[in-house]
C-alpha cells in the first residue's frame, strides 16, 4: 500500500468524508455531549479509542465470522470496549462520568462505530482498518470540539474554567475589560442541546459551500 493512501485514510474523515456532516453517523451523541469543551474532548477520546480498536478486532476476525451473525459479533466487541471505557471513566474521572451519564453507554449505539465496521473493517486489512478507525474518531471529535467550543464560550462566557465575558472576566488582562468582551452577556440558548443542531446545520452549510461535490441534488 502506498504512502498516499495511508494518509488519505487518516485525513479524509476530517473533512470530505466527515462521519457527522457527510456520512450522517453518530449525530445523537454529538448533539448531547457538546455542552462543554471538556465533555466534548473526553467523548472524542473515548469514541476514537472504541472505533480504532473495534475496527482492528473485527478486521482481524473478518475471515472467521459467518456473515449471518456478524451483527451480534460486532456488538459484543463494541460492548466490551465500551464497558472498558465506562469502567475506567468511573474509576479515574468519577465526576465527569456522572455528567456524561447514559451517553457513555450509548457509545455502543453510536452509528459511527457500527457504520465503519460494516463499511470498512469487514473487508480490509487490520492496519488500514485501525487507521480508518482513528481517522473517523478524530473527524467525529473535531466536529464535537468545534461545537463544544462555540457552545461553552457563548453559553457560559467561559472556556475550561477561564471566563472571557462579563463582570467576572477580569484576570488582570487589559483587553477583556473593554468593548465586546465587557458588554456581551451569556446566551442562554447555547447551553441547551438544541443549539448544537443549528450549529451543525450551519457547519454543513459552510462545508458544502466550500465543496460543491457534497451538495444534495434531491
Amino acid at each position: 500500500m502506498s504512502e498516499v493512501n495511508t494518509k488519505k485514510l487518516l485525513t479524509d474523515p476530517l473533512d470530505d468524508n466527515n462521519p457527522i456532516t457527510v456520512q450522517v453517523l453518530g449525530v445523537c451523541s454529538a448533539l448531547a455531549v457538546s455542552g462543554s469543551l471538556k465533555n466534548a474532548l473526553v467523548m472524542a477520546v473515548a469514541v476514537t479509542f472504541v472505533t480504532a480498536f473495534s475496527n482492528l478486532t473485527i478486521s482481524l476476525l473478518r475471515n472467521y465470522i459467518p456473515s449471518r451473525i456478524r451483527m451480534i459479533v460486532q456488538l459484543v466487541v463494541i460492548a466490551f470496549l465500551v464497558t472498558l471505557v465506562s469502567i475506567s471513566l468511573k474509576a479515574f474521572l468519577f465526576d465527569l462520568s456522572k455528567e456524561l451519564s447514559v451517553y457513555v453507554g450509548l457509545i455502543i449505539t453510536n452509528c459511527i462505530i457500527m457504520g465503519r465496521l460494516e463499511a470498512f473493517a469487514i473487508g480490509n486489512k487490520p492496519v488500514d482498518s485501525f487507521l480508518d478507525g482513528v481517522g473517523n474518531g478524530i473527524g467525529y471529535g473535531l466536529i464535537l470540539v468545534i461545537v463544544g467550543f462555540i457552545r461553552e464560550l457563548f453559553g457560559t462566557g467561559a472556556l475550561l474554567g477561564f471566563t472571557f465575558f462579563g463582570e467576572e472576566a477580569r484576570h488582570g488582562i487589559e483587553f477583556l475589560k473593554h468593548g465586546f468582551f465587557n458588554d456581551f452577556f451569556h446566551n442562554g440558548l447555547m447551553v441547551l442541546p438544541i443549539s448544537s443542531i443549528f450549529i451543525l446545520g450551519i457547519l454543513i452549510w459552510i462545508q458544502r459551500s466550500r465543496n460543491a461535490e457534497l451538495i444534495d441534488i434531491s
Binding site: 450522517v24 449525530v27 451480534i72 451538495i215
Partner: protein
C-alpha cells in the same frame, strides 16, 4: 392508571426522545425523505421499544441487580452483575430487531425493500437503548416501563413523520443549494425542537 397516562404523555411529548434528548437522530435524519418509509420505521421503532423496555426490565430485576441471584448460593447475595448490563440489553435489542425484520419481510416486502439497511440499523438506534437506560435511571416498575417504552416509541413516530412531511413540502422551496437536504433537515429539526421545548414546563 392516571400515573400510567402521565408517563405516556411525558415520554411522548414532554421528554420526546428525538426532539428533547436528540436520541436516534441518525435514522431519523436518513429515513425521513418520504412519509411512507417514515411511517414504516416509526411503527417498527414503537414495536421494538414496547418489547425491549419490559424484557430488559425483567432481565435486570431477576438476574442483574445486587442479590438477585442469591437463590443459587448465599455467596451471591451481595453480588451485582450490573456491569454486564449493556451487553445483555443490546443482545435483547438485536434479537428483537431480527424478529421485526423477519415479520416485515414476510408481510410487507415493499416496505422491507424501502427501509433497506436502516431496518437492521434499528439495533444501533440510540433511542432504543436510550429507552432501556432511561427506564433504569428513572426506577420505573414493570407496568410503568412498558408504558414508557410505548410512549417514547410513539414520540419517535410522531417526530419522524412530521419531519418527513415537512421535507416533502420543502422540496419545492428555494433553499440555498449547499443547505439542501441534510442541512435543511437539521435546521427544521432545530425549529421543531424549539417548539417542543415549550412543553417543558408542564408538570405531570
Amino acid at each position: 392508571m392516571s400515573d400510567l397516562i402521565n408517563i405516556f404523555v411525558k415520554a411522548a411529548f414532554v421528554e420526546n426522545m428525538v426532539l428533547i434528548y436528540f436520541l436516534g437522530m441518525c435514522s431519523y435524519l436518513a429515513v425521513s425523505k418520504t412519509i411512507k418509509t417514515a411511517v414504516g420505521l416509526g411503527a417498527a421503532v414503537i414495536f421494538v421499544l414496547a418489547i425491549t423496555a419490559p424484557v430488559n426490565w425483567i432481565i435486570r430485576e431477576t438476574l442483574l441487580v445486587e442479590g438477585a441471584l442469591s437463590w443459587i448460593s448465599p455467596a451471591l447475595a451481595d453480588q451485582s452483575f450490573e456491569f454486564l448490563g449493556l451487553i445483555i440489553y443490546i443482545g435483547v435489542i438485536a434479537a428483537m430487531v431480527q424478529l421485526v425484520e423477519m415479520v416485515i419481510e414476510k408481510f410487507s416486502p415493499a416496505l422491507y425493500m424501502s427501509l433497506g439497511i436502516f431496518l437492521p440499523l434499528i439495533t444501533v438506534n440510540c433511542a432504543i437503548l436510550g429507552g432501556t437506560l432511561f427506564m433504569i435511571a428513572k426506577e420505573y416498575s414493570l407496568a410503568e416501563s412498558t408504558v414508557f417504552g410505548i410512549g417514547s416509541g410513539f414520540g419517535f413516530f410522531l417526530a419522524i413523520v412530521a419531519l418527513a412531511a415537512i421535507r416533502e413540502k420543502i422540496k419545492y422551496s428555494a433553499v440555498p443549494a449547499p443547505l439542501r437536504g441534510l442541512g435543511m433537515a437539521f435546521i427544521i429539526t432545530g425549529l421543531m425542537g424549539l417548539a417542543f421545548m415549550g412543553l417543558m414546563g408542564i408538570k405531570l
